[in-house]
Symmetry: D2
Subunit: 285 residues, 4 copies
């Protein structure tokens, strides 16, 4: 019968919820930081759920991870050392390692259990990237890492963190201070990108992020992409002092990815330009 059985109720935006049919529950684990579930959702395949928010599903995670990683990576002419903060599932790492230029990818995640959970259950996400000799996974607070790590080291920094509207725990991860710390560990021509929540549903939180990045970098660009299983569009902000995202042509984007051996399922140069052209979606007045 329709409308019966096990369901996942997930908040979308501030005021409504998504109701997914749960076909199977593979694993549930609690950590001091969060509660994780791996479930099978009708229409989306395997889904990682943390604190009742879907993080990613088999069917559509590439929209998210490709949009997060490749614009920043393509913007840099030669990304050799890459820092990932968050991203415990390993899919961001997976996309980074596709770039043949990369010789070192440091992933810093606060929660050891998420990483263990991923290694154990989310092969379809990390696809072995944790075992790539270029990968180094550190279990520590990203806030502390960017205070303590050496300066002028990374080419690209990718923030794959809890949403900026997720409360007190999120705020420092999107603060001006944090962005200054990230900048310090980047080389002078470094590029950073962060997912930035929802400019439509959480406008003031988004503007807080945008403002902070804007005060730290010369060039910033906004874009957003619909993630079907989120029921909403996710925003991203990419920034650099040296490279202007709007100067990267569709052709350059495609050539850089091709040269580095990167194969994608969604993003390409033309779509990169399309995303920048659309920018952020805000409430209409």
């Amino acid at each position: 019968m329709n409308g019966e059985g096990l369901y996942l109720l997930e908040p979308a935006g501030k005021t409504f919820k998504l109701q997914f049919k749960v076909l199977k529950v593979y694993a549930v684990e609690k950590t001091p930081h969060q509660e994780m579930m791996l479930v099978e959702l009708e229409g989306f395949g395997k889904a990682l759920v943390i604190d009742n928010f879907i993080q990613s599903t088999e069917a559509d995670e590439a929209f998210y991870h490709e949009s997060l990683v490749h614009p920043a990576m393509a913007l840099h002419p030669d990304p050799v050392r890459v820092l990932i903060i968050g991203g415990g599932e390993g899919a961001t790492l997976r996309e980074v390692l596709k770039h043949g230029t990369v010789r070192e990818a440091v992933m810093v995640d606060i929660d050891p259990v998420v990483v263990e959970f991923s290694k154990k259950y989310l092969e379809y996400m990390h696809q072995g990237s944790f075992n790539d000799p270029r990968s180094r996974v550190l279990i520590m607070d990203g806030l502390r890492y960017v205070k303590e790590a050496p300066s002028d080291y990374f080419d690209v920094a990718i923030m794959d963190l809890t949403d900026p509207y997720a409360g007190d725990v999120a705020k420092p991860l999107y603060s001006e201070e944090f962005y200054r710390d990230v900048k310090r560990v980047l080389k002078r021509d470094g590029v950073m990108v962060t997912q930035a929540g929802s400019s439509y549903f959480y406008t003031s939180e988004y503007d807080y992020v945008l403002g902070n990045i804007g005060r730290v970098y010369r060039y910033t660009a906004e874009y957003n992409i619909w993630i079907p299983s989120f029921g909403l569009n996710v925003n991203f902000i990419v920034a650099s002092d040296t490279y202007d995202p709007y100067s990267l042509t569709a052709r350059d984007f495609d050539e850089r990815l091709a040269t580095r051996g990167v194969k994608t399922r969604f993003i390409n140069g033309e779509r990169y330009r399309g995303l920048l052209a659309i920018g952020a979606l805000r409430p209409l007045h």
Copy 2:
């Protein structure tokens, strides 16, 4: 208390649902064709709901109606006579009438009750467009209208119809035969556009529409836009034998709208180009 009271459960995609908090129910009416409700949804304001599908909400209807109307209207250098099939709320008509070139806008809707309902309750949608001297509203089956109306009459035809995946009633409204009939009532350099459901969730239904239009017109372009209260992206297809959508520059788009006195809240030339660049989103493989 959270999670209690009146809710609207609406299907999104094939496999999940959206759950909205209903703050108020203004009106409910049944017709032989459909059931209409006007409700107040938390976070979205007034919402028109037909057969349990949200048609439009105060907060975000402009994303939909601007994306449906202005690309086709801008693509035509001088749209004087415009045909709208469906669109009973009057918001598509409202956007069409913004173009100062328009001297006649014919709206054909099958359901008299929807139009009466709109006149009575949806002032925020039609904003008086039903009373514009340039408007003519016909209550009849759009399928019949395009068979019986004179040839070579309209400059632009806009299809604002039930979703292509809405079952048997929808199929003829997206058939090759229908598109040939629409073409007959258009002038030789006419432009048509239709909303086309969801290329992500209803791929085969979408491809049926795309294929049918592709067989009838020389130029077609696909685009899609996220509608927050739908929880998903809606697809559109614009087509013409004379004007190539990809040849219309952002600057031309903006100039045409400016010249005709059109003010918008979401769409502009750059976003038009961005939407075309992204095209349709399909399941990833």
Copy 3:
């Protein structure tokens, strides 16, 4: 399609909810005290909903109102003056007035809007009882009424109030002090009854009520009855200093109702005895 459209989500017990299909919304009104809705629920007909709790539905309200009124009324050999506190829908009043012995029924409800709402929309509930010459409706706080009304006046007092677990507003309405005040306005052989929430789901709140009544009256009896649209059993406590509920036989119960011209749909003497025999349902250990 199943599982779509307008729904009422109502808490049942502390930990789960009932989801009803709403077929129609007749009226919604807010007062300083509460929010009222009259809706049509699939399977239950018209339903009055206050603060998202179903108060009564057309289909099953008689289970509640007959169980509340007739045990106390039957226990008294000659109920002439009856006090109702709460009961704004008028259905408790309707049941009281069925007893031919009654010459005066005073109903005290705090919320004028509820009573107006009932008169306007709930004819099926009050069935004209507000217009019975024996009825007197006072809009005032029941707590104050029983402090200020004359002593030794009523034969039966019926409390049809918000649930004892409804928070701070409820507590005084189930306090020992309140029961002493009620007793003062009753004659020496008076009988009182109150609905008492849920002994299964809100055991400590129920025990608070039971203890308070037990300290004020010599005889008390507990009973409960399933109300289908509540998804749970509602408890009642009847008390008196003179009449022992367990001494009233099924035959006496039936005879008293017959003599007074009372016709019922659910309660009768045998079921009265059955309800007392089952008593209150508590969590099992």
Copy 4:
């Protein structure tokens, strides 16, 4: 956050649903006959869910199993051989074995996986009763068993089967032919009992069962009890050619249970009489 995470949506009655918060999913198994889940429900503890219907929860299963088993067992003066059809969880068997008179309890369940599932996960239900030397568990169709088993063998037959409104699979299990077969395997003074669904929500299905039993036995008695996690009252029908359920006094009931060493949490002689007095609850007219 409230209203988020994993939920179980379960139908209650024909027209509404219960929504439980799922705290944990212990196991999910599919068989050719049905799909089983063991989950932890907020407020109810462990719950066995078959085909999305809650079968029993830790917190309230005793209401059901005591009400099913002990009235029939107490009605028989010396139940030595007992037949259970269905009851795969082992809790009905557990209650039967409490009666010291019992020397053989045959449980016939069609689905081997349910029984294995119970042995593996539902220790709190069967409490070792599968290992009692008096127990014999047969995996076969109950319909066939009562056709093939020897005549005049059992003292009591207890039917713990899928609901009579569960569709085509249920109908033969509540047919007159089945009751005649059951009667054949009972001794002449045998007693049978069956759960009988919901006389309130599924009246015609209930009347079908009641009519069939009434044509086969001289004495029948109806009763029903609220099961909190079902959100509704479950009906039972007990029948015999020799023993009239209404002749068994509360005292006899208590004495027989005491003599046989049976300890209960809900049922006792007085409540047995109360249940019979209330009988079946039907829609009110």
